[in-house]
């Protein structure tokens, strides 16, 4: 069994959203919902300002609150550690959404089920990379088996100081970050979903 995880190197993320777009296309994610997105966070005061780009997604936590909250067994852990949701077993009581400290789950009205990042298990089962990893032009996302010391992810995790998002939540995420500028605490109160309430509809007036 592998222990699949992802390492995101914030030093090389350029905020291009190629990953978000690839993910949207891969899963037909409805407007207003996100499995994967990139947070733009500004820090400092003029003239010493900086902008961080922080890609976020489900952390496929080792101690996944969504998994233990689900009353119907729809949230499952696959053999390689990915946490996924079985559409047919979901009755949309939203216990997983209420429990996830990362707001990584949304209601997919079209599928009639809760939905979230699956680490592209349909692709990885065929030996391919998740869509976001394939799309990233700077190779700042590395996906693989955290338990395999030869894997690129394990090598890069060992060579760098890695951290996780919202460590205090105690969920033991399997999405690791290289974050030398300490940007993750800036999105401590945020989640994967984006507040789109102020967005214009796009319909002609």
């Amino acid at each position: 069994m592998a222990r699949l995880g992802m390492l995101i190197d914030l030093r090389t993320c350029i905020g291009c959203h190629a990953c978000s777009v690839a993910c949207k296309a891969e899963f037909d994610v409805p407007l207003g919902n996100f499995r994967d997105t990139v947070k733009y966070v500004e820090e400092g005061a003029y003239p010493k300002v900086t902008r961080h780009f922080i890609p976020v997604l489900c952390n496929h936590c080792e101690d996944a609150p969504c998994l233990s909250a689900c009353p119907t067994g729809a949230v499952v852990r696959l053999d390689d550690g990915q946490v996924t949701i079985e559409d047919g077993d979901c009755n949309l009581n939203r216990a997983c959404m209420a429990a996830c400290p990362y707001d990584a789950i949304y209601v997919d009205e079209d599928r009639g089920a809760a939905a979230k990042c699956t680490f592209c298990d349909h692709r990885t089962a065929e030996g391919r990379q998740p869509a976001c990893v394939d799309a990233c032009p700077t190779n700042c996302r590395v996906f693989g088996d955290l338990d395999d010391p030869e894997s690129e992810i394990a090598v890069r995790a060992a060579a760098n100081d890695v951290t996780v998002w919202k460590e205090s939540a105690g969920t033991r995420p399997k999405v690791l970050y290289v974050d030398p500028k300490n940007a993750l605490p800036l999105i401590e109160e945020q989640g994967v979903q984006v507040d789109t309430t102020a967005d214009l509809s796009g319909e002609p007036a």
Binding site: P65, L67, S68, A69, C70, P71, T72, G73, A74, D89, C90, N91, L92, N93, R94, A95, M97, A98, A99, P101, D103, Y106, V107, G112, A113, E189, Q190, G191, Q193
Partner: protein, 266 residues
Amino acid sequence: MTVAWGPLLAAYVVLVGLPTGLTLMTWWVGRSGASVRLERIGAWGALVALVAISVLLVADLGRPERFHLMLVRFDNLASPISWGAKLIALKILLLLLVVHAVERRRPPDRPLPRLTKVVAVLLLAVSFALALYPAALLARSWASPLAGGAGVLFVLTALLMGAAVVVLLGGEGRTALLGLLAASAVALAVEALALAGRPGDRLLLAELTTGGSAPLFWGVAVGAGLLLPAAGLLTLPRNRVVTALCAVAVLAGAAATRYLLFAVGS
């Protein structure tokens, strides 16, 4: 952050205190020789209220037609909702048995058969579990940070609701009501002290006592729900109108407390 549970779940958390408290308080008030009328209304009232509240819960599901999955699936016993759904179904079943026994006995003041008494004891145990259940349910949600540690308050507010209904029905619940009001005041004070002692929780306490929730907290939960009825029941113990008004105020106060436990900090 997306708030996953909205008004219907809030209504559930508030209202579920009623059938729970009604079962426990009709038993308590009637334990030394039940008033037949109270026993009957208690059983029917709890049944009707619980069924109505269950409809709320089902309506809150995005896929109501798959409600049964919560009852027939046993894969995840770490899930409070899995337990809660099964306990609610069990309580409805037990209440149906009690209602059936109460309606069938002739003459109506004959004591209930032994088997029904066993059912009644089971019913009390399930009701007590359901009184604690909102705390277990909301402890898993980051949106209700106050609720997880508030099991005692959920039990006390359920009992207060039950005692208030008993009093409104003409039962002798005044002493119980006064005792519960005192216990609730102590529990609220202890909860406030605990929050004040933890740096992360002081913001929650501030929201409750001086922030946007303060009018509901001081005005309804504390003022109308605890102080007014305590004063009314102590100073005019024999005045029926005052007693009834105090019971209504207790209901409003307990409902407000439960709502605040659900909503503050989300």
